[in-house]
């Protein structure tokens, strides 16, 4: 049955883990937005469990795409067919939703990016550099400090008539400036609106520097849920901003589209997906410091019921090469691996 076939797209970011099930006719069956909370493996398993409960038993996953900063981990757990960076995934999703889109503003939990597209192809992009000011976690933190739920941040900011000026260069400065403004007696909505403006200014100065921002403009990522930021963008850019329907899961959607693209290119290929029963098995992550040389690399090992699935973190590759065998005997694993190759 065609209706029971899905592409799975997974985007494991620092703050949220998103999953989508895409039908072969490009419509969305399910979208999940979960908080990663520093436990990506459990969150992925939890997500799979949730998805499984929402689809018929006869369902089949015919392709899996993984993206996000933990894409390697996600790909290992799921057996993904495509592993792509977030930039490509976001761009693919946006241009499928609207092939005419020319600019994507994406603000996530720990990073923010701008992607410039022309004729549906990425022509330029930028990500925030060493500083995480002006990302979702900063807003989260400030909302928590002010004692308001993050969901109310944007609507409150929209009530402001005279936003206050807040130093936006650095989140530490922004915070102290904000406290000073509070002490002077400015209202909460004015301060929140000022914060939105400062964040947008910071974003456009750092990430959007020298970029030719042309419409249609998409605003996606978790922060797009905040109408205060959206309004600040519209004022600053003097153009309307479109927040796509599935703004929060665009990365996952892009990953699903990429899995679909791969299958279209090679229709005979089978998915490496490890099955929906994944949520029932035990995954374990172990980390240790390698003492082989002075680099002291921190190695992470993913183990499924005693079998080592993957290792990474080493600079020389001696641990990553010895994968796919029982974890208690790495030397034997290495030899077996060589014979296999």
């Amino acid at each position: 049955m065609e209706e029971d076939k899905f592409f799975l797209g997974v985007d494991v970011g620092s703050v949220s883990t998103n999953m989508v099930l895409l039908r072969p006719d490009n419509t969305l069956k399910e979208a999940l937005y979960l908080r990663t909370q520093g436990r990506p493996m459990q969150t992925i398993q939890e997500g799979i469990k949730l998805l499984r409960s929402r689809i018929p038993n006869s369902s089949e996953i015919i392709g899996v795409g993984a993206t996000g900063s933990a894409r390697q981990l996600a790909a290992t757990l799921l057996g993904a067919d495509v592993v792509k960076n977030e930039i490509t995934a976001h761009a693919v999703a946006a241009s499928r939703v609207n092939p005419k889109v020319q600019t994507i503003l994406e603000i996530g939990g720990q990073d923010s990016k701008i992607i410039i597209l022309r004729d549906g192809v990425v022509s330029d992009f930028a990500m925030n550099t060493v500083c995480a000011a002006g990302t979702g976690s900063f807003l989260d933190q400030q909302a928590a400090r002010l004692g308001i739920p993050i969901e109310e941040f944007g609507p409150l900011a929209l009530q402001s008539k005279t936003p206050v000026q807040i130093a936006g260069r650095c989140s530490v400065f922004a915070e102290s400036d904000m406290i000073h403004k509070q002490q002077l007696g400015h209202s909460l909505p004015d301060i929140l609106a000022g914060l939105c403006q400062a964040m947008v200014r910071n974003y456009l100065n750092n990430v959007g520097k020298n970029k030719d921002i042309q419409g249609p403009i998409f605003f996606q990522g978790g922060v797009a849920a905040n109408p205060g930021i959206r309004k600040a963008f519209e004022e600053e850019l003097g153009q309307s901003i479109v927040v796509p329907e599935h703004y929060g899961v665009m990365g996952a959607l892009g990953a699903a589209f990429l899995a679909q693209e791969r299958l279209a290119k090679r229709p005979e290929s089978l998915t490496g997906f490890r099955g929906l029963k994944l949520s029932e098995t035990q995954f374990q992550a172990k980390s240790f410091e390698c003492s082989g040389c002075a680099n002291r690399c921190e190695i992470v090992e993913i183990i499924q019921e005693g079998i080592s699935l993957a290792r990474w973190g080493d600079r020389c590759g001696k641990w990553s090469l010895a994968v796919g065998t029982s974890n208690d005997n790495s030397l034997a694993g290495q030899q077996r691996g060589q014979r296999g190759a």
């Binding site: 930039i87 490509t88 004729d119 549906g120 192809v121 022509s123 060493v130 042309q214 002291r296």
Partner: protein, 330 residues
Amino acid sequence: MKIGFPRALFYFDFFPFWAGFFHHLNIEVVTSPPTNRQIMDLGLKNASDETCLPLKLLSGHIQALKAVDWVFLPRMVSVEAETYTCPKFLGIPESLLSSVPTGIPVLSVTLNWRKGQRLVLKDLQTMGETLGKSKIEIKQAFYEGQKWQEKFQKTRGAEWNFAPTNLEWPPEPERLKIALVGHSYLIQESYANLNLLKKLREKARVELVQHVDQIEIETNLLELRKKLFWSHSKQIYGAGNKFLADPEIDGIIYLTCFGCGTDSIVQELLSRKARQRHKPYMVITLDEHSGEAGLITRLEAFLDMIERRRVHEGYVSTHGERLDCNSNTL
């Protein structure tokens, strides 16, 4: 007698000269090991927090020098006529004296080619007195050092294996060709740059600043209204400008580090030209990161962008011209 030579900063450009120089004087030169986590940690702890990553690494390498009679820290003011090195080079050795292990004396000399060879030689001879070497010996050692340096520059470093992972990949025409520009002490510093060069070579053919002929570099500097007076920046801009015009180069990656003053100018000059020429261009800023995720994401996205663009541009449009030909984006 053993002289300790830290494997950082000027090591990547001028080690051959000093190796030849001391070799002729029968002085053993000991280098610190390639950067590892311990060296980096030592440097980050000890060096001034306001300086740049390469100087912090130098501090770590100085501390890693063991069982030597001297720590050699030349003040390389200028390495060719009419130029200076980066101002932070000029503060060596004083800015790093606190990193020198107690009990080991510092051997230094001011090298200033702006004053001409005669005075460079004189300064070296003054240092020679400390080492108990005659003026004649120093003069011969100087010529020997120059010979080694010339050979190094002629072979473009091919005979000097700086990084343990100096792999050469066979050229394949289908593979993308990427130019990686930036200071030698960042590009060749495989620990601090998270093995960028090797990672890039796995995915594309790579051109470096040192692959460009000196004559070509000079030609590519002519259009500047004012001369660049930092020698490294001259090389980077000249080579970068050549790569920008080269149709075989699919994209340019500029590797810089947080707080680099000279790069802040050269990087901007190159990025403006890249935009005019619609050449894919990306800046990667290094600092004390040890997590690779950010670097890999940027690298993959950049290569993906070029590849997808290449496929896209392969179409012959019925419209006759690209709709965005007047846009100033890349």
